[in-house]
């Protein structure tokens, strides 16, 4: 084992104080890259990447190096505040009054005790996605309290109902990325891994740059040519939200025109050989209940566990007990024929000839059947990857869009093998010194893969059983949903009544999420917030959501906080592929100011006052997998630092507690090839045919039939279809642009717009604060860059801003950088900058996928010039 150290260096400065470099972790986006913060005489003067860590690999993006400007923002909150004005509304002054922590926590605890006695589900716990480290404290508080209602506001709602679900089912991980070190051909669909913020951000930037320098071809499918596309070999512009049909047409070419598939992979690693009956379900062995396959060796149907994979039929029609049935792969092959390149061209605008070329390049570069020796181990080699993320899955067709894209990998065997599409670390052999942190995907029901670990407790497979809603998001009914719009939808009461939610939420405990800006149109979110009896919010600044908050608690930021698992879990934000494992902590580089307190300690204090401290400890024991002698005692009072120490010793041994990590920052050890390339040696299959959808559909409909709701058939087919967005069906004259937002690489969520350095960079950028329209289209309408325009939806939602004409956008597209356009005085740097795209998004049942509840993130709009360029 090699342990690299990033020591906390401390020496006397020339002045009277100290001069120290503190190894810690960034929190300007959820990538949580390792940093070093330089503190001189009590002032943090510089932040840079920590070269001893693979999480960031010593690099730090513009947001990260600018962090100290947010840290020292004079608008930071330093005292608890309580509203004096009971009236809540957008722009209505709450009449803030400073109160003591004692007053604040006493009032909160009294309300929480009452609510818990009535029905603990009335509490909703919500947090920003930006600070990954908030997950364990807030989830544990919620579990200890007894509420299932956890949410991550817009950051979660917009981000990954499709992406995380399917990455989990198909790759046992939270997300996917090319194996940059060995990949030769990567195709991105609405994703920017390696070119922007997000999972393993700075690590992936370095890896992607090295791969491009090595010669990896990179194709980016996106309505806009920005962060990933601009660095790509080829940009493929397409109509917003049509990535699925494009990918399925490529699959069609690969299967039905080229016939270049990885048969051994499909036979041994997917459910492609499983026989499907006329009811769309597996044909099962009457004795064992196992799915049957057709054994070409003995020419009969046998349970899949009894047949060598090489003998399993992928094609043909067979009869079992007189009933016709087909291997799942045969059905997929037939199904794909409805996605001809010509049909896909009509949907996507991508020329059929280009679709054929891209498919041919992908299949050819896959080098089906090849192997490579890595660290002395011979592993399958498929140097192609098709990846996707928010852009392609943020639509009504969320699940099928992502599944269609991932089928490209599955068809050529490029899933979790060298050079292929990798999950973020689905398998780990554990820390060598203790064996802890060990996990690996394994076969579950019907031989299909179950993730070795999962970030959100609710495993993607096997699917949960639909049941009458107990959760305000209805995810327990629509079990493919992770994040839900019903926390703030315009029809939430109607939805809850219709589906029989037995209670209504009363208290919102919010951590840093600015719901009013992050979810959808502000009036709808405002109305939902007004229904709460008490809203408590941990915040750095007053923001738009603060107008609805009753008690604001001044939080410490990441340079003042402690967390024992800033990079955890490995499936979320740790670089994939070969290299090293790395575990780092976050620790304070500066002290709290005024009465700022660390949220984790506040939650423990609050839990004690509410009387749920033993319950929160039990939740932490379970969530952190703490074992004796590090399990938390029910009734003892711990500081958060003590809990961090327990977790670190639990994972890395008694010698590697918090004290060791404070000094050394990170601990690393090498990966072995069977970890990133686990697929070949793991006896688990993935579903290219989603048979379980039939069962889920029936069960949902059985529950909802009494309220007259039937989940649409076209969203529950075992094979991927194209279900258009509502915007695709808008035919109203004049509404001829598809408005979409993109994640500006200069900003994270909504709060970095308050950072003066990032704001300055964004103002220099021609796109960050403007509305981007195709140059030819704009000029044909007499528009010129700098004109003031109004963008309006069919129902009258509108935003205004300066137009930027550019060749770098699809002719039908209208692109806006997400989450600018603040209007609150609490963030004066951000106020008035950019355009608030989410104002155009409806938050209701009709705009949520009936499959996974993903919000439809595009809108058909018309553009009107309302002012000349200055």
């Amino acid at each position: 084992m090699t342990i690299h150290l990033s020591r906390r260096e401390e020496k006397p400065s020339n002045a009277s104080g100290i001069d120290k470099w503190v190894p810690s972790a960034c929190a300007l986006c959820y990538a949580t890259c390792s940093i070093r913060a330089h503190n001189v005489d009590g002032v943090v003067i510089k932040i840079e990447g920590n070269p001893d860590s693979v999480v960031g690999k010593g690099k730090l993006c513009g947001k990260g190096v600018s962090g100290l400007m947010g840290h020292y923002d004079p608008n930071r909150l330093t005292r608890p505040l309580r509203r004096t004005n009971p009236r809540k509304g957008i722009g209505v002054d709450p009449g803030w009054k400073e109160i003591s922590w004692e007053e604040a926590l006493t009032e909160i605890a009294e309300t929480l005790k009452r609510v818990r006695a009535e029905d603990p589900r009335k509490l909703v716990v919500q947090r920003t996605t930006t600070v990954t480290a908030s997950r364990i404290p807030f989830h544990s508080f919620a579990a200890g309290f007894g509420t299932p209602n956890i949410a991550t506001a817009g950051g979660g709602l917009h981000c990954g109902n499709g992406a995380h679900e399917i990455s989990g089912i198909m790759h046992a991980s939270w997300s996917v990325v090319p194996d940059f070190a060995y990949c030769n051909y990567a195709i991105y669909f609405g994703a920017s891994k390696g070119h922007s913020a997000g999972h393993a951000s700075c690590s992936n930037m370095g890896l992607a740059a090295d791969a491009r320098a090595r010669g990896m071809k990179m194709v980016v499918v996106d309505p806009m040519c920005n962060f990933a596309s601009a660095k790509a070999s080829e940009w493929v512009p397409l109509r917003v939200g049509t990535d699925g049909p494009l990918a399925l047409a490529m699959c069609n070419v690969i299967v039905n025109e080229l016939g270049r598939i990885d048969e051994p992979y499909l036979q041994s690693k997917t459910n492609g050989p499983y026989l499907i009956g006329p009811d769309k379900r597996y044909v099962r062995d009457p004795g064992s209940g196992e799915p049957l396959v057709w054994d070409c060796g003995c020419n009969e149907a046998r349970p899949y566990t009894k047949v060598p994979s090489a003998s399993m039929a992928l094609l043909g029609e067979y009869r079992v007990d007189g009933v016709a049935c087909h291997p799942a792969f045969q059905l997929l092959k037939d199904h794909l024929q409805s996605f001809s390149p010509e049909a896909a061209e009509a949907i996507t605008t991508v020329p059929a000839a280009n679709i054929r070329r891209l498919a041919t390049e992908f299949a050819t570069e896959a080098r089906i059947g090849s192997t490579i020796v890595i660290d002395g181990v011979n592993v399958p080699y498929r140097p192609v990857a098709a990846i996707a993320f928010r852009g392609s899955q943020g639509h009504m067709n969320s699940t099928y869009n992502f599944l269609g894209i991932d089928l490209l990998n599955q068809l050529v065997g490029a899933a979790d093998v060298a050079g292929g599409c990798l999950g973020f670390n689905p398998a780990c052999n554990g820390f060598p010194g203790t064996g802890r942190l060990k996990y690996r995907p394994k076969p579950g029901r019907d031989g299909l893969m179950v993730s070795g670990t999962w970030m959100g407790y609710h495993y993607p497979y096997p699917m949960a059983e639909p049941r009458a809603p107990q959760n305000i998001g209805l995810q327990d009914l629509f079990v493919m949903g992770m994040n839900s719009p019903f926390l703030a939808s315009s029809d939430q009461e109607e939805v809850w009544t219709r589906f029989g939610l037995p209670y209504r939420p009363e208290v919102l405990l919010n951590f840093g999420a600015n719901m009013l800006m992050s979810m959808g149109t502000k009036e709808t979110v405002a109305a939902a917030l007004q229904r709460y009896k008490l809203i408590v919010s941990f915040d750095l600044f007053l923001n738009e959501t603060s107008d609805f908050v009753d008690i604001v608690l001044p939080d410490c930021d990441y340079l003042q906080s402690m967390d024992s698992r800033s990079t955890w879990p490995f499936i979320f934000g740790h670089p994939a592929g070969m290299g090293e494992w790395c575990w780092g902590i976050r620790q304070p580089a500066d002290e709290p100011r005024g009465e700022q307190r660390r949220f984790a300690d506040v939650l423990l204090d609050l839990a004690d006052r509410v009387g749920i401290l033993p319950d929160v400890h039990a939740a932490m024991n379970a969530s952190l997998n703490l074992e004796a002698p590090y399990r938390l005692l029910p009734d003892r009072r711990y500081s958060w630092d003590e809990i961090c120490d327990a977790e670190l010793k639990n994972n890395f041994g008694e010698a590697h507690g918090l004290g060791w990590f404070k000094k050394n920052g990170v601990i690393t050890w090498p990966k072995t090839p069977d970890e990133p390339y686990w697929r070949a040696t793991t006896e688990a299959r993935v579903p290219i045919y989603w048979e379980f959808m039939v069962d889920i559909h029936e069960k949902i409909n059985k529950i909802t039939q009494q309220c007259g709701y039937k989940a649409p058939d076209e969203y529950y087919d075992p094979l991927p279809l194209f279900n258009p967005c509502l915007s695709h069906e808008c035919k109203t004259p004049g509404f001829d642009f598809y408005a979409f937002y993109y994640r500006d690489t200069l900003h994270s969520n909504s709060y970095t717009t308050e950072n003066p350095w990032l704001d300055e960079a964004a103002r220099l950028d021609p796109y960050s604060y403007t509305i981007v329209v195709n140059r030819s289209v704009g000029e044909a309408r007499g528009l010129k860059s700098g004109d003031l325009i109004r963008v309006e939806t069919e129902v009258g939602r509108s935003v205004e801003g300066r137009i930027c004409l550019s060749e770098a956008i699809h002719p039908e597209g209208l692109g806006i950088a997400g989450l600018a356009g603040h209007w609150h005085a609490g963030m004066p740097v951000a106020k008035g900058k950019g355009v608030f795209f989410n104002e155009l998004l409806e938050l209701d049942f009709a705009h949520a996928s009936p499959q996974n509840l993903n919000l439809d993130l595009c809108a058909k709009v018309k553009v009107t010039r309302i002012g000349e360029a200055p």
């Binding site: 989830h139 007894g146 995380h164 959100g456 992770m482």
Partner: protein, 116 residues
């Protein structure tokens, strides 16, 4: 920080049947709302499985408990975690024999998935 059950918990009761053993039950989070007494001591037949113990608990505390922990009659929710003497167990695992002592049986339902 070694986990050990509180000494102030109820003392071991008389066995209800020959060879029965006592188990100390700790219900946390939302489950604790269903059973304010913590720990709760239950006499159970020797060698029963965790699933069978949950069934007994359901009879004692009512259907709401089982609805909270069991996804189907034979499968618990993946977010429901069960520990015996601090070690994670599943439905098919059997309670250990603890001559002269008690096993601590902990049950908690964690929260659901998140995004990001």
């Amino acid at each position: 920080m070694e986990y050990s059950a509180s000494e102030s918990g109820p003392s071991r009761g008389e066995a209800e049947g020959p060879g029965h053993q006592a188990v100390r039950l700790w219900l946390f989070g939302g489950l604790a709302v269903l059973c304010p007494e913590r720990p709760l001591t239950l006499e159970v037949p020797p060698g029963i499985t965790v699933g069978e113990l949950l069934g007994l608990l359901g009879k004692r505390l009512g259907a709401a408990l089982l609805e909270s922990v069991m996804e189907t009659p034979s499968r618990k929710f993946s977010i429901c975690r069960v520990f015996i003497d601090g070690m994670p167990v599943d439905l098919d695992d059997r309670l250990p024999e603890t001559p002269g002592g008690l096993s601590d049986f902990e049950l908690i339902v964690l929260t659901a998935a998140e995004g990001g």
